[in-house]
């Protein structure tokens, strides 16, 4: 800072620096944002009378959480939940197994160009399609049942895990991999001793995280007929059996919390 600038600043009050320094850009963004908010609000017609009527039911639902009903639909809840867990386990295993080679192929520093492009293409397709949309298509093709859900979750796992694994491989330490290669290792040995130890902790952590996501997603696949607890939950809502719905939601939250706790322990151990 030159003398002049400092002299000019002395005696003037300190002002908070702005988040967006350019004033024109700042004002355009602000005005545009407010205009958008008004436009958006105008097009949402909220039926306040209906909302007011519904508050009663909302209160009932919140109250249902204090006395969830695990018993009267125990059979349905149990079989739905088991199906969700089964789908999660099978899809996570298959998804992780397939995503490892694809992740290797999608890493620019390991794979040659054609393989890289193919693997990146698979990742992009899998990530762009929503689980529930894939499930709709697979249910139409393979029929109702957990097989469609299993395929959906496996497909989604591939996109998620391969991308993050590939990014991790691309940012790995080259020196270690080169040292292994210099010892005369074959390609398989190079991957096994040069690359794998570097990415293993992250791969385990990401896999645990994906299992968690897969379970949460398996809870909604039932809405489109792809198996799992979602169908039971949907029926409970349709019949206004809030106590059963509350029980299912509590079970889902409980299992997700348990999975998160477990993955925390495992991640702490591998790192």
């Amino acid at each position: 800072m030159s003398h002049r600038e400092l002299d000019d600043m002395l005696g003037t009050k300190w002002r908070k620096p702005r988040f967006v320094p350019n004033p024109y850009l700042r004002w355009t963004l602000t005005v545009g944002f407010i205009a958008y908010l008004i436009a958006a609000y105008m097009t949402i017609d909220v039926n306040w009378a209906r909302v007011y009527e519904g508050l009663d039911r909302g209160a009932q639902f919140v109250l249902a959480f204090t006395k969830p009903d695990f018993v009267s639909r125990a059979g349905d809840i149990w079989s739905g939940l088991l199906e969700s867990v089964v789908m999660t386990v099978a899809a996570s295993v298959v998804g992780i197994l397939i995503s490892i080679p694809i992740g290797l192929g999608a890493a620019r520093n390991i794979a040659p160009m054609p393989i890289y492009l193919i693997c990146r293409g698979i990742v992009a397709i899998s990530r762009a399609l929503q689980e529930i949309i894939v499930a709709i298509l697979l249910v139409a093709i393979f029929g109702f049942g957990p097989l469609a859900g299993f395929l959906t979750l496996s497909f989604a796992t591939i996109g998620f895990l391969s991308k993050l694994l590939a990014e991790d491989i691309e940012s790995m330490d080259k020196v270690q991999a080169e040292a292994i290669r210099a010892s005369g290792a074959r390609w398989m040995q190079w991957i096994n001793y040069g690359v794998q130890p570097q990415v293993m902790p992250r791969l385990v952590g990401l896999s645990m995280y994906r299992i968690d996501i897969n379970f949460r997603e398996s809870a909604i696949l039932g809405l489109v007929g792809a198996g799992g607890i979602g169908a039971t939950l949907n029926t409970a809502f349709d019949r206004y059996e809030y106590d059963t719905a509350a029980a299912i939601l509590l079970l889902i939250i409980g299992i997700v919390m348990a999975l998160e706790y477990l993955s925390g322990i495992i991640r702490a151990r591998v790192q």
């Binding site: 097009t43 017609d45 929503q130 029929g143 097989l147 919390m257």
Partner: protein
């Protein structure tokens, strides 16, 4: 690292015999669990439909191509609704997530014993339930429509945003906070000048990241009746209008790709 003596020479091994036995046993259990899960899925599957699947897929493909391009004139309003659901939902969620995250962060919470667990419970319970399930619930309570979608997205996003934000708050540089405190600032002034400037980039990044995810999620909310382009999708699926379905899927794909591009650009500009 164990070294075995064999045939008069030393042989290096990665693990001791006991360790490898335990690992082998762990793998055995894992494989057994997977086989059991696969059997359950296989029992619940009508294999005839699966063998027939290539023909069905071919059939659907021939029905769905080419997309009915002129239908796009009817998709303007639904896509506008979808964007509104995502944007308004994200804004509401951010307003609610900020106080929750300040209550959940270890260094800003008023009471680590009572208030922090409640904030963490809010985060976990809103995060573990998918927005489609929130939408189902809200439709039962406040009736179908865009409004239910906005609230569903908002509730689902609270946990996600609050979790990332409270982790950012816990990682701030404490010396800046101390410096502000040393000037005699009140609790609120410390927050406004010591903490907020440090988490602002993280906050903006989280907001854009979540907005991107919310665009994806809001495209399918219509499947359960919560407004947006999903309504058109489910209507077209119900009447088996496959050319319309393929056009809607293309529009959704375009929306997802554009939102991801915008979010990547904005995050690149901030960080």
């Amino acid at each position: 690292m164990p070294v075995l003596e064999r045939n008069g020479g030393h042989e290096w091994r990665r693990r001791t015999t006991g360790e490898s036995l335990i690992r082998w046993f762990g793998w055995l259990i894992g494989v057994a669990v997977f086989v059991v899960c696969w059997q359950r899925i296989s029992e619940a599957t009508t294999w005839f439909f699966v063998w027939d699947a290539p023909r069905i897929a071919d059939d659907i493909w021939s029905r769905a191509t080419p997309p009915r391009w002129e239908y796009i004139t009817q998709l303007g309003r639904p896509i506008w609704d979808t964007i509104n659901i995502a944007t308004l939902g994200t804004i509401i969620a951010l307003f609610l997530a900020v106080p929750v995250s300040f209550l959940a962060a270890r260094n800003t919470t008023p009471s680590a014993l009572f208030i922090r667990p409640i904030a963490l419970l809010i985060i976990v319970s809103t995060r573990s339930i998918n927005s489609l399930i929130w939408a189902l619930l809200l439709i039962a309570i406040i009736g179908p429509g865009v409004f239910a979608g906005v609230i569903a997205i908002a509730i689902r996003s609270i946990g996600f945003c609050a979790k990332l934000l409270y982790e950012a708050i816990e990682e701030i540089d404490q010396s800046q906070v101390e410096a502000i405190t040393a000037t005699g600032a009140s609790r609120w002034q410390v927050m406004a000048y010591g903490i907020v400037p440090q988490i602002m980039p993280a906050f903006a990044g989280i907001a854009v990241f979540r907005w991107d995810i919310n665009i994806r999620e809001s495209t399918v909310l219509g499947l359960v009746g919560a407004g947006g382009i999903g309504l058109q999708l489910s209507a077209s699926l119900n009447v088996l209008a496959w050319p319309q379905v393929s056009l809607i899927l293309l529009v959704i794909l375009a929306a997802v790709v554009i939102s991801e591009w915008v979010s990547a650009k904005v995050r690149g500009a901030i960080i």
